[in-house]
């Protein structure tokens, strides 16, 4: 369990000439929790506080006020940091910024050596991780020979090798083409079946998080709303306030329902066809 209690976060900047200090507060008194194996989407505009919050979760940053606990350990207790960092892993937007090794194997081995994984088991673990994400490459493949989608799968393999309890994806699909994006999301959910972990997913695209257990909406550094996707999918005005757009079929279903036409909220092309056939 991750527990966030009244956490605020401010950046402090010094203005050299005047020797004065400015603080800009990017998170305001966030209280929330994330349960083991939960799938939570963090949504909101650029700069609304989503990424800042995730940086508090694994202790990259510490809250200026309030606290964050991961499995009962406070992030401000420095002895806890190695364990917390191991439990909470992040995959970022640009795969190229996350590579540390020359080859697929080296890249995965780096994190493992860092946490003191038994040397003689590393080889086996690399093979396991490559298989887990379905990366079609052996461990000697240079990372520069991978496509964007494969690189992002490698980033995923490298963190999953460390058996995280919580995985944060910070717009991890935004640089991928539609095919690679779909494959990446599929891989992710299959990996979760084999090795369960909580998923904390930041995106601007709602269609990627329709399956989530919870959506958390951020606005101007505040946790604005927290609820099930179904609660929000019927409220177009609220979503647009947070800079989000309903997927096409959901918007169509809402519009039709608004005109008294009986369709389900999870309207798809088949249901639409049936509706039209019935009346034609």
């Amino acid at each position: 369990m991750i527990e966030i209690q009244n956490a605020s976060f401010s950046y402090t900047e010094w203005e050299d000439e005047e020797d004065t200090q400015y603080t800009s507060r990017v998170l305001h008194q966030i209280t929330s929790s994330i349960k083991p194996n939960e799938f939570v989407a963090l949504l909101g505009r650029n700069g609304s506080g989503k990424s800042s919050l995730t940086r508090l979760l694994n202790g990259i940053e510490l809250p200026s006020e309030g606290s964050v606990q991961v499995e009962g350990r406070f992030t401000h207790v420095s002895q806890s940091i190695p364990l917390i960092r191991r439990a909470v892993q992040i995959v970022f937007q640009n795969p190229e910024n996350q590579q540390v090794g020359m080859t697929v194997g080296e890249d995965i081995a780096f994190g493992l050596s860092n946490i003191g994984y038994p040397q003689h088991q590393i080889q086996e673990r690399i093979a396991w991780a490559i298989d887990l994400v379905g990366l079609d490459a052996d461990e000697d493949r240079p990372v520069t020979h991978l496509s964007g989608g494969e690189q992002q799968k490698l980033a995923l393999a490298s963190v999953l090798a460390l058996s995280p309890r919580y995985l944060i994806l910070d717009e991890a699909t935004s640089m991928l083409d539609p095919v690679a994006r779909k494959q990446f999301v599929r891989t992710l959910h299959e990996a979760r079946k084999r090795q369960p972990f909580a998923l904390i997913y930041i995106t601007h695209h709602l269609e990627e998080v329709l399956e989530a257990d919870r959506w958390i909406l951020f606005r101007n550094g505040h946790l604005y709303l927290d609820g099930s996707p179904d609660q929000f999918l019927t409220n177009e005005a609220l979503l647009s306030e947070c800079g989000l757009e309903l997927p096409y079929y959901h918007a169509l279903a809402l519009s039709l329902q608004g005109k008294g036409i009986p369709v389900s909220t999870s309207l798809g092309i088949e249901e639409l066809r049936e509706l039209l056939c019935r009346f034609n």
Partner: protein, 292 residues
């Protein structure tokens, strides 16, 4: 600006005189197209399909291995007029990562440095560029680019290219990482520059919805060849093309086509969810068979 590619091929491996004629497989293979002045052209394709190489040829970062590139009927490479490439503005992916000055003004004016313009002219140009990208001059000129929001930073970066008054603007995935309001604002901006200043705009996109909504023409690139070239609505409903890219047809096109098949709409374009719902409810009401 009109761009013409005549049988352009490109390979990264140079042919050596004495070895047997071994050439690496071309990254671009015999491209032959014309892009007219004032087009809004989207380019799509997987990573490694040759998109970036193609764009770099238009900016003169690379020269074709065979064939030629004409900008307004002149080949800058063979006629030794590389300055023609200055009319091409190139905006890289995540351009805000390249901001470096302490003020927005200095960042935008950086490209004007070598022109040694009088101060007033320089100010005028920066003012105009900021107007184009909709950043208030007085409010923003002295601020640090680093304290702006993601969408604002990107607009500063674009202003830094627009200030050079290009005739063609190339953008590599301009909306990656932007939220919906910033994406919408960016496209309003591109359409405005396109319509008011006649700027030709070419951009790379992975978002098929974005292409359907904003492009007048789509070039789909695969293994160095354009395998589709035409209106986005037509090309992105072509099952064969979708299949070959592994793309899923945008929902707006699927629904619009189904409504056409049922005779519910005669529109050949794509319908927004609201337009589709209107059309459906109209026809159901006419038939008065709506079960309450």
């Amino acid at each position: 600006m009109q761009i013409q590619l005549n049988n352009v091929s490109f390979t990264y491996e140079k042919k050596k005189r004495k070895t047997t004629s071994f050439l690496a497989p071309p990254v671009l293979n015999q491209l032959h197209i014309t892009i007219k002045s004032g087009e809004m052209l989207a380019i799509a394709g997987k990573s490694g399909s040759g998109k970036s190489t193609f764009l770099q040829l238009l900016k003169g970062f690379l020269a074709p291995t065979t064939g030629n590139v004409l900008l307004d009927d002149i080949d800058p490479n063979s006629s030794r007029k590389p300055e023609l490439f200055d009319q091409v503005g190139y905006i890289f992916q995540y351009p805000e990562h390249q901001l470096f000055s302490t003020t927005v003004f200095d960042d935008i004016a950086f490209g004007l440095q070598s022109a040694k313009l009088p101060k007033e002219i320089k100010e005028q140009k920066v003012r105009k560029a900021m107007e184009v990208v909709q950043l208030d001059y007085e409010e923003f000129k002295d601020r640090s680019p680093f304290e702006l929001s993601g969408g604002e930073k990107r607009r500063v970066a674009i202003a830094g290219v627009v200030v050079l008054e290009p005739k063609l603007l190339i953008l590599d995935e301009p909306t990656a990482g932007l939220d919906l309001p910033s994406r919408t604002a960016l496209f309003q901006l591109l359409h405005q520059m396109n319509e008011e200043q006649g700027l030709t705009i070419i951009w790379v996109s992975h978002q098929l919805d974005e292409i359907v909504n904003h492009a007048s023409r789509l070039l789909a690139l695969k293994n160095g060849i354009f395998i589709a070239d035409g209106s986005p609505v037509t090309t992105l409903s072509d099952p064969e093309l979708l299949e070959s890219f592994g793309w899923e047809e945008p929902s707006a096109l699927v629904v619009s086509r189904m409504l056409r098949q049922f005779g519910i709409t005669s529109s050949n374009g794509k319908l927004s969810p609201e337009e589709a719902a209107d059309a459906i409810s109209l026809i159901l009401n006419q038939q008065q068979i709506l079960v309450k």
